[in-house]
Amino acid sequence: MFDVHEMEINFGPQHPSTHGVLRVLLSVDGERIINAKPVIGYLHRGTEKLFEHMAYPQCVPHTDRMDYVASATNNLGFVEAVEKLMGVTAQIPKRAQLMRVILSELQRISSHLLWLATHAIDIGAMTPFFYCFREREQILDLFENYCGARLTLNCMRIGGMPDDLPPGWLDDLEEFTGKFDAAVDEYESLLTNNRIWKRRTVGIGVISPEEAIEWGVTGPPLRGSGVNWDLRKALPYECYSELDFEVPLGINGDTYDRYLCRMAEMRQSNRILKQCIPMINATPAGDIKAKISRVVRPPEGEVYHSIESPKGELGYYIIADGKSTNAYRCHVRPPSFVNLQALPAMAKGHLVADLVALIGTIDIVLGEVDR
């Protein structure tokens, strides 16, 4: 009697809410999604293959271009993987470690701000966009003062950091961290209690902890389901084990909980930054590079190293043949790519309008999905 009139439509790749060139092949019955199939590959640049043809230090600027809104963490993952392969992880000076932590936490905040801005604007809340970009601009200014670039930072080197902090940088950082908690309160005042926001997010795209683990989801989408897995705590790298922070966990695993998780994560990142400032003041200035040879030629072997990028577990798998200065093979495990696989499971049964919220809540960057 009630026939299902299934229709196939394309969502994207030129849709503004897909955050890049993601195409979702939808089977819909009226407004209900029966199946959603992400079709990727529009931004494929062959980064992994490029890595095979470049000396290790030259790969670092290319890692910027994968997750282009969080390039510091991409740099960090790559340089740490190579350092682990060379066995020099312990030689990295304390100051360099702290600088890496500061840069990657700033990057986490800036990535989450961009996520919040676009996620909110997708759902229809225009105002947070402006306030998020205001604070993001301050972070980008900090990056610019440190390394000279705003987006594609190229701010880490194998064995340390390229430059010491410029004078006055820590004061700027302190000023930013002092103001940032109030800024998060401001975003929350616009969204957290807002009934329209809640209608659009509560109960949308629920993913249970078991399902999330089965799909290999990491980062805030996993923690939004209440699984306590943060690589900064689970497998501490750099000096995260000395820092005091908490991992926010969601309860219901819906879009709203993932939103709350990321908001809490921004506050925790700010807390880490505040702790880092006195610690970095206690280290000798200029001690930013380990004493390793200029030519990076790791011994034969393979390594997998993963870090907690703003979007989840970012891993680099490198095989070195011991003779050349190029990697024999480099594989990247990008968080966006894996998290995107959970989209069909999340979208089933929801309305097409909710798909926009779902793509936003997974927080994908297509540069990273396609590499």
Binding site: M54, P57, Q58, C59, V60, P61, H62, R65, T127, Y131, R134, E137, D141, E144, N145, Y146, C147, G148, A149, T152, N154, P162, D163, P166, E186, S189, L190, L191, T192, N193, N194, R195, I196, G226, E246, V247, P248, L249, G250, I251, D257, L260, C261, M263, A264
Partner: protein, 180 residues
């Protein structure tokens, strides 16, 4: 740590107070100073370390090609030849630079070339605080040795072009050639 869900308030049910909470924020922000910049009329000064357009110094360069080796995408083209020259009364073999070209349109401003340069101060550097590199022809962004050294003599952008004045735009992107 579990995230805290906001507690439901009885006022939310009929007074729409949750919406006024957001409106309060926007109203407060209405009276805050502006943070935006009206770009072509107002410009921000880039940071001291800002990586922008290159500058090259022929006099300092020792033609060692380290910058070309460091470049991840191989866009620095260097040709050298050896020359016997008299320096302080002695004959010395010197490397002389014939060609030093950078294909700036492909550059990703990673500054690895600057880092690799062994001379002090650097012979190639990106901290010129110049970022307005747009041009109407992609080949205008292929810079040879003279252009890399003297590009800053090109006329600066001085405001929006008048109507029907394409010649002005033409001149704006023109890179005055070198003089040795």
């Amino acid at each position: 740590m579990r995230v805290e869900h906001p507690k439901p308030r009885w006022t939310d049910r009929f007074l729409l107070l949750d919406l006024f909470e957001g409106l309060k924020t926007t109203f407060y922000e209405l009276f805050q100073p502006k943070v935006t910049v009206r770009y072509p009329e107002e410009r921000l000064e880039p940071a001291d370390r800002f990586r922008g357009m290159f500058k090259f110094s022929y006099d300092r360069c020792i033609a060692c090609k380290l910058c070309a080796q460091a470049c991840p995408i191989d866009i620095i083209y260097i040709d050298v030849h050896d020359e016997q020259r008299e320096v302080d009364g002695k004959m010395k073999k010197l490397k002389v630079l014939d060609r030093y070209d950078i294909d700036v349109k492909r550059c990703m401003f990673c500054a690895l070339c600057e880092e690799a340069c062994p001379t002090k101060p650097k012979s190639i550097w990106l901290t010129t605080k110049t970022y307005e590199l747009a041009s109407y022809d992609r080949n205008d962004l292929y810079f040879n040795m003279q252009e890399l050294e003297y590009w800053d003599e090109r006329p600066r952008y001085t405001g929006l072009p008048e109507e029907n004045a394409p010649t002005q735009l033409e001149g704006q992107k023109m890179l005055t050639g070198g003089h040795e």
